[in-house]
């Protein structure tokens, strides 16, 4: 296998609140890699440091310790979607192209198919406040696709949507991803969503966020996200993931009020069937970011 698209080694990130003189460790000693073209879900309870991790991957925040190597440009779908209220759907989607100096004609040519893909063609001229939540989220996804990084980082993009809309968008995302060959890191707090989408699920503990386990998902591709749920293995892995999450919550509360690296409880190793990483030796990354 070729060099991983993303490689994290011992990454830590904390926030210090000077006013209350309190330090919160959001990400604790996280290491994992994502192969090229792989779809990895990061699963964890809210507040465990998932967004922090993603912001570090996106280069929006800097880790305090450890090494982050991201090969290529990463496009981001933010948790709060961040669709510009002052731009039409079409201009929102074309925004990354405009930033890079693409002319109006070129933007139109490239945005058209993406609007088609995300079912927004009829709303191309609409402003975000005229859209439903689902359409705003589609706009945000389409914008990340227009940005066209080799890596796609998605932070609970469907978290605020109803179940039906979410299923539709998940299916569409899988279709888009399979045609694109992008590497995806998809953050979610939903066990179902992780199993529906991922090749591998990284389970995070409650704060401070550590990687508890790296669980491979055995379902083949292309996936039918409905049929998937009839597979007997679906229930088994669901149980396994919930068990890990419960375990993560327990160890986290045992080590409450983290004040520094030394105060953290020892990380439990993942279960025997779930090796950390894929056993592929990492080759030197193209870009290594150190704090």
């Amino acid at each position: 296998m070729s060099a991983p698209a993303i490689d994290l080694r011992g990454v830590w990130k904390g926030f210090h609140d000077a006013r209350r003189d309190q330090t919160v460790i959001a990400v604790e000693d996280v290491s994992f890699s994502v192969g090229r073209g792989e779809f990895v879900c990061v699963l964890g309870p809210s507040g465990c440091g998932k967004s922090t991790l993603l912001r570090i991957l996106a280069g929006l925040d800097r880790q305090d310790l450890g090494e982050v190597a991201v090969k290529g440009h990463a496009s981001v779908v933010f948790q709060e979607h961040g669709v510009f209220p002052w731009l039409s759907v079409e201009d929102n989607v074309g925004y990354p192209l405009k930033v890079r100096g693409a002319g109006r004609a070129e933007r139109r040519r490239r945005v058209g198919p993406l609007l088609e893909l995300t079912g927004l063609t009829d709303f191309r001229g609409a402003y975000p406040h005229q859209l439903s939540g689902g359409m705003r989220q589609r706009t945000s996804v389409a914008r990340a696709l227009a940005d066209d990084g080799e890596i796609l980082l998605m932070d609970e993009p469907f978290g605020a949507l109803d179940e039906q809309t979410r299923l539709v968008l998940q299916q569409e995302l899988l279709r888009i991803w399979q045609d694109s060959g992008k590497s995806v890191v998809f953050i979610t707090h939903s066990v179902d969503e992780a199993l529906t989408l991922a090749d591998r699920v990284l389970v995070m503990s409650a704060r401070p966020g550590r990687i508890l386990a790296d669980v491979p998902v055995p379902f083949g591709r292309p996936r039918d996200i409905l049929e998937l749920r009839r597979d007997p293995r679906y229930g088994e892995i669901t149980y396994e993931l919930w068990r890990l999450l419960r375990q993560g919550a327990a160890t986290a509360s045992a080590g409450a009020v983290p004040t520094g690296p030394d105060a953290s409880p020892a990380s439990p190793a993942g279960p025997p069937g779930a090796p950390a990483g894929r056993g592929t030796p990492p080759s030197p990354p193209s870009e290594v970011r150190t704090p």
Binding site: L60, H73, V76, F78, G82, F84, W86, V99, R143, D147
Partner: protein, 268 residues
């Protein structure tokens, strides 16, 4: 009732509601109602007609001033001063508002300067400006510009500061540099506040220019009103007052129109 028919009816209703036609057409004319009330109150003796003559009695004076071309000359003088002053004040207000809103270092360094200048009553520096710029147009432009600057500057800066950080993250992850981020995020995010500042500016500009023309000028509506006081011509005074408020009102409408064009995403 058949479905297509009721759907059409609904579409028509929504379209009519949306445009709010009646209210939009009637809106600009409601000030006339005020004049009617005034007329009745003055003629019935409810108001002292020496100080509040009925509007219709002013019409004669108004017509005389228009016929002589005096009113137009004065109105044009005031308008051009307000217009030039608005541009001279709004442009730097906008640019500095964005700069200080978007760059914490600039805000920390220069914010206190503007904060300490803000409480100075703008009209209080008119004598100084008259010394520096003389009695000509420049002193009027500058004093209006100073007043406008603060309205636009503070509203713009506030608009940028209130921008959700996520929008700056989107710009950054899309690869936008500093200038791109300012022009594509900070500016549009602040635009609704900018227009709030502009609307306040228009009102403020007419107050400042009227006061300036009282003392430092031989033209303009302010001068017309002031000279009417000297000759105890109450009717002429009212012509001036009505004219300047009309000008202010129309200028405000113009800014509102511009806002609807440039800020189509803000809900009204």
């Amino acid at each position: 009732m058949s479905t297509p028919a009721s759907r059409e009816a609904l579409v028509r209703r929504l379209r009519d509601e949306r445009s709010g036609r009646a209210a939009r057409i009637a809106g600009p004319f409601t000030p006339i109602l005020l004049l009617v009330v005034w007329e009745v109150a003055s003629r019935s003796g409810l108001l002292d007609a020496r100080f509040f003559p009925p509007p219709t009695s002013i019409v004669g004076t108004f017509a005389d001033l228009v016929a002589a071309g005096t009113l137009q000359t004065h109105a044009l003088a005031t308008l051009s001063r307000v217009g030039v002053g608005l541009v001279l004040g709004a442009v730097p207000g906008l640019l500095l508002g964005i700069a200080l809103g978007a760059v914490p270092v600039l805000r920390a360094l220069f914010g206190p300067i503007f904060a300490s200048l803000l409480p100075i009553p703008k009209i209080a520096i008119l004598p100084l400006l008259l010394l520096i710029f003389g009695l000509g147009e420049a002193s009027k432009w500058v004093i209006v510009a100073i007043g406008v600057f603060f309205y636009v500057f503070y509203n713009t800066m506030g608009g940028v500061l209130q921008t959700q950080p996520i929008y700056f993250d989107v710009a950054k992850s899309s690869g936008a540099g500093r200038w791109r981020t300012w022009s594509t995020v900070a500016l549009p995010a602040a635009l609704p506040s900018v227009f709030t500042g502009l609307k306040l500016s228009v009102g403020g500009a007419f107050v400042i220019i009227a006061a300036s023309e009282f003392v430092g000028s031989r033209t303009g509506i302010g001068y017309l009103i002031w000279s009417a006081w000297g000759t105890l011509s109450v009717a002429k005074m009212y012509v001036g007052i009505v004219t300047i408020s009309l000008l202010g009102y129309l200028a405000g409408l113009l800014v509102g129109l511009l806002e609807r064009r440039l800020v189509p995403w803000s809900r009204q």
